[in-house]
Symmetry: C2
Subunit: 335 residues, 2 copies
Amino acid sequence: MVIDSNFFMSLAIEEAWKYQGYTYPNPAVGCTIVGKNNEILAVNAHQKAGNPHAEVMALKNAFLKLTGDVSLLDVNSSQEIHNYLLANHKGCFEDISLFTTLEPCSHIGKTPSCASLIANLGIKKVYVGSRDFNKEAACGNEMLLACGTQVQTSVLQKECDALLHPFYMWKKNRFIFFKWAQRLSGTTDGGVISSESSRKSVHAMRDVCDLLVIGGNTVRIDRPTLDARLVEGKAPDILIISREKEFDQTIPLFKVKGRQVFIEDNFSTCQEYKNIMIEGSAKMFAQSRDIVDYYVCYLAPRFGGTTGFENIQDTFEILNLQKDTQDIIIWMKRK
Amino acid sequence: MVIDSNFFMSLAIEEAWKYQGYTYPNPAVGCTIVGKNNEILAVNAHQKAGNPHAEVMALKNAFLKLTGDVSLLDVNSSQEIHNYLLANHKGCFEDISLFTTLEPCSHIGKTPSCASLIANLGIKKVYVGSRDFNKEAACGNEMLLACGTQVQTSVLQKECDALLHPFYMWKKNRFIFFKWAQRLSGTTDGGVISSESSRKSVHAMRDVCDLLVIGGNTVRIDRPTLDARLVEGKAPDILIISREKEFDQTIPLFKVKGRQVFIEDNFSTCQEYKNIMIEGSAKMFAQSRDIVDYYVCYLAPRFGGTTGFENIQDTFEILNLQKDTQDIIIWMKRK
């Protein structure tokens, strides 16, 4: 194992993927901070819109390690962390290196600009994976360079771009991902497949989806609620893909307040939404094939079941592989 | 991500799993060396019997980082690395911490004792995962303690024990693992499934297996060679499980020199061997169920194929998850 810039960036990338699907409308971003002797001071990710950016989380944790000043421990809002660090850093960040999967933001949005914070803390070395194509937030690299910070760009850029792709698609028009649960035997039928932890992860994604697409047969057979109750989140609007428009209105998904439910024989309703999750198995996989950007598979390490993805021939590129408490989570794109 | 003793040990564990299956008759062991400022100096694993132990590889790389003395670069034998480090360390290791998944060996075998090297280099802190139950090599912890080294035991012990389990079984009697290749769709039929890199990995395991077990139907249909040509390794003996004893002797596996081929309707020949790989799919999985210790699945991220593990209901615990260039490698045990 080689301990170099790529290693530090890869830690940031791995941490960020843990929150892929939860950060909409913000990008999944990771940040590693390395001290003057090459010691890892912090590895953090942006976890959810409204929470601090990855850089701010990592700078907070690095500050705690460098100074032992525990009064920052209970400071959680991004603005307050910015203010505290600017007022109390006393040059402690001067010799650190900061690795971020995405160019630090330069605009003041829900949180102050990270590029300005990094520059004002006197950080001299920043390693960046992806450039920011978002007009509002871009120019972070230039702002840092203007302040005398050394910026090395394109560190593991391909991997960072894959992490950032959903955000790119939201800015362009929309990001559509297909989620399924299966066993190691490839089967998708026969009751609950995923662990509690995997199902919580899916609910956290539903919480920030604006539209959830599902097949009519699944609705009729499973009678699902399709909300985000396991994370106390909001329930997305629903698009049921079905030629037959009649559904038993006592099926729980129809009773969730504040949600719209569409029943259509095509995906055109997707055009009104930005962050869209499709849940299904083989039939929906085939139907949605042309509009899906990413796939996420929750794979339970067991055999059993009888039907899965017969008659489908696709090959995937693995973007990220995680082990949950029990299941394997695989983010992929179709080749 | 928390950067603590468990993190450093987990790097050692991950590195060691990359060589699981290749190290027989030695255990798969990983070692991380951390400098006085908590910087990672080296993460290495034992790669193959005869090669230096994980601790020696890591100490060599840490020495290169600490001193910049490149004359050690081309020194590869364990004895020579020991001698060079002992003659040239000049106290550079005094403030480092060494994390090893297995108690350092205390006996002089093919390579000198790691515990003695660690003590003589003046290393003050050693973190150990598993205890060594091997009578010849044990007492490393005691040797270190006697020399004034602080030893913290049982760091991620459960994970380290899972890594060490094959070695435990070799010492007890034998280790039997079942290897299969499948697609994401769970299928095992229809031609080559795994990537070139995965197939090389399987050949590296065959190279150190003393017996490879395979089903009669596979032999008749696939007409395999079952050697280790992709890594220029030695071909293991073969046990064909088949009620029908007649085989076409032009099938390539029969023509490999220096190998014994048994054709039996049971697994009793396994009792004459120590490191046994079973290759197969559903039928062999079911037949060998009661004698297998670990499973390793090479999962190609694609659909297609028609048959797999129908009618089998087992559940697994995931021991290690790796991404190859293309495939996923999953080490598991049956629950």
